[in-house]
Every structure is written in C-alpha cells, then in structure tokens.
Symmetry: C2
Subunit: 112 residues, 2 copies
DNA sequence: CCAATAATTCGATAAATATAGAAATATGGA
DNA sequence: TCCATATTTCTATATTTATCGAATTATTGG
C-alpha cells in the first residue's frame, strides 16, 4: 500500500461520522448498508452523509453498488488489512516483536 | 479504546510528516528517536516537527522522555494495538471472519 | 409521463489544521 | 556566568475540511 493512499484512508477514518459509518459497515459484512440507512442511523443529513461516504470510497475503504433506488455501501476488508499492515511494518526493528506487551501479534502477516 | 481517542489517533496519523515520523518510531523500537533527528530525517523545520510530535503525543501514540538536551520519542505499541482492535471490532458480524480474503487474521484478539 | 423515493452535487459559510519564523525555555559545558 | 545546543511555544497566515439547504440526477410504480 502506498503512503498517499494510506493517508487518504486514515483521513477518511479520522472523523466521527465516517468512523461510525465504517464500523457499521465492517459489522454489516458483505451485505452492506444503504446510504440512507446510514444517514438515519447516524442522524446526519443525507447530503452530509453522501459527502462522508464519498471520502470513504475515494480512500478505497468501501465499495458501493446500486440496488434499485438505493446505493449500498460495504466495507473493503482488504483495504483495511493493507492499512494495518502499513502501520505495523517492520515493527520494533524485528526485535521482540512476538513479545505480548510490546508489539502486535502478527505485524507482517501476508495471508493466513 | 474510546471513540474520541481513536479519532485523535487516526487524525494524528493522517498527515504525511506524522505518519512518516510514527513509522520511523515503530521501526526504532523502545530506544526511540530524538525530535531533532526526526526533523532532520523528514526535512521539516523543528517548530513544525514539534507541532506534529505534540499531536502524536496527545493522541497517546508516542511517549516522550528527556535525555540530556534531547527529547526522545518512542512509539506506544499498546495504543497502536488498541487502534487496530477498535477498527476491526465485530468484523463481518462474526461470520466468515477466518476466511483469508474477506477479513482480518485475528480481529478480536485480546492478548497473545 | 408524472409523482415519489433515494442519493448526489452544488454553493456558501464556519471551523479546524498546517506551516514556519521568531521568541522563549531547558540543559550541559567552558 | 555565559554560550551553544535542543526543543518548544507563540503568532500569523494559508489551506483544508465539515456542514447542510437547495437543486439535480437516477429509479420505480401508477
């Protein structure tokens, strides 16, 4: 993952409503949630919600698909993984990285 | 980890120089890096670097200690873990979370 | 085609953030 | 004490971001 994209992802998540929306999407799974439903659940005007969803989409954190009149958003788990990986890259300079308290469980994991 | 603190952490990381600084600190480990060394390495004026480091510290992502004339910054790995955990909480609604392509390796991990 | 629904884009304004020079604060050594 | 070093705080300015009503675009059903 490139630095520029990581920053867009972090910026996208660094906002109350977007963070809340993303978490709802993470929990919703592949099925996703409609834009309007998110707006209602978060008590945000539709135009504001749309603005925020556009940022999440631009950062590649969510996918969108039309379903009849609604536009359904869903979390992109691969992007989320990429973000985590970038932050923890070369954690601790390789030393003591398996130490429970000091570092992440599996910082440079590529796949299961 | 509380939402407010998560947002401060994400905001802190969502900036070119701060993200770069944090990554250097993550890689440096417990030893840490002096403020001036970071400023030089990132080619940022000392006052700007100080501003950015203050944000990282305020977000709880880094610790600082004085060592003679220098102030040494180091990454707080526990905070980083907390951030990751928050983002992936209840990933996929519990379904298919072990699936390699769909979700994180160990999203709700509490300790090793 | 027309009305209703769902969402986005536009536009104007308010608020927060980044930048960096200058001044101030701490530390260590001669 | 005086000077050099290391960093932070102050201050001003430029830039970016958030908000949300109004207008616009897309879809469905009558």
């Amino acid at each position: 993952m490139k630095a520029d994209r990581v920053i867009r992802a972090l910026s996208a998540l660094a906002q109350e409503h977007r963070l809340a929306a993303f978490r709802l999407l993470v929990q919703a799974g592949e099925e996703g949630v409609a834009a309007g439903a998110l707006a209602e659940k978060l008590d945000v005007p539709p135009s504001s919600m749309s603005f925020h969803l556009a940022q999440l989409a631009n950062a590649g954190l969510v996918a969108q698909r039309r379903e009849s009149r609604s536009i359904i958003y869903s979390a992109d788990y691969a992007a989320m993984n990429g973000l985590m990986g970038y932050l923890t890259e070369n954690c601790c300079g390789g030393i003591a990285c398996s130490d429970d308290a000091a570092c992440l469980p599996s910082p440079q994991r590529k796949s299961a």
